[in-house]
């Protein structure tokens, strides 16, 4: 959504529609900043849920695919 608005602002600017272009550009920047901030908060929350040094359970290990034992 943010990127689409940003593109629209660029097209409007090319068509010399400066006022709508500026409005679309400001809206796109606001959307992009808000969504980036949300992604950052989500990532931090996931990191907190997985404590450092967490040990895999036997069930999790069992479900893993075979790793090629390269030397």
């Amino acid at each position: 959504m943010g990127l689409a608005l940003n593109l629209l602002a660029f097209v409007l600017a090319l068509l010399a529609q400066h006022l709508p272009a500026a409005a679309a550009y400001i809206a796109s920047v606001a959307i992009l900043v808000i969504s980036a901030s949300r992604r950052g908060r989500q990532g931090r929350r996931e990191a907190q849920e997985q404590p450092a040094g967490a040990v895999l359970t036997p069930e999790e290990i069992k479900r893993r695919p075979v790793v090629a034992p390269e030397v």
């Binding site: 040990v55 359970t57 036997p58 069992k62 075979v66 790793v67 090629a68 034992p69 390269e70 030397v71």
Partner: protein, 254 residues
Amino acid sequence: MKGVLFYSGLKGGTGKTTLALNSAVVLAYLWRDVSQYPVVFLDLTPSLGTASIILMGDPARAAASPSLSDYITGKLADPLRAFYVRVWNAEKGQFRLVFSYFSQNTPYMRRQLEYVLKLVRERLSPLVALIDAPPLAIEGIVGGLVDCVVPVTTPDASAIEAVRSRIDAINAKRLRPVLNMYMPEYPVSAIHAAPWERVMESAFGEPPHIVPFDRLLHATRQAVEVEVLKLRPSESPAVRAILAYAKYLSTVVV
């Protein structure tokens, strides 16, 4: 075919099976294009060793299937009918490990093991046969039948002495000793008043290959899986060390 024995004297719980089985799997993968059956793994533990359960995938299936115990008790005329092929698929292709084991506590004689190894050599033509020795007095049985012996110990004075005092009876080339389950937080033997590495060097004539203690290895054992096939070297220092030892074996045994 070179025979390699993983040995800890009369001491159990030293991580010998983990090292032997993982080395066998790594070498089977490494030599997958060299030979049809590059590696044969023999679990000499009486009454179902851990390696045989992992390779068969299920204790009940391992107990019910023909094993070398059936050859020893006369139920099988051809011991190779007690051998199995475990196949894995990796990104670079398929690889296989041939193995056999004892499902019961059937005492066997040196000439019976010698005959089994002779058939393996003649009919399977592997590059190596890796043998997981049980913590029993088997020196009289395997002595002289293998080419190399891997001393496997833990940071424990009696474990080191258990290997040092009996390993000469194997009458085989001694490979680099392995110090398993090493914890860097406790690097010194209080009994010897010296670092464990120095104690090992003094006992075996060369510094040990260190495999650190790693909880992930224990979790993988609980999952009845082969560690090097389920854990990435980047997440397990013990797997990194086992891979390095397998690489060393690949250069010294063939």
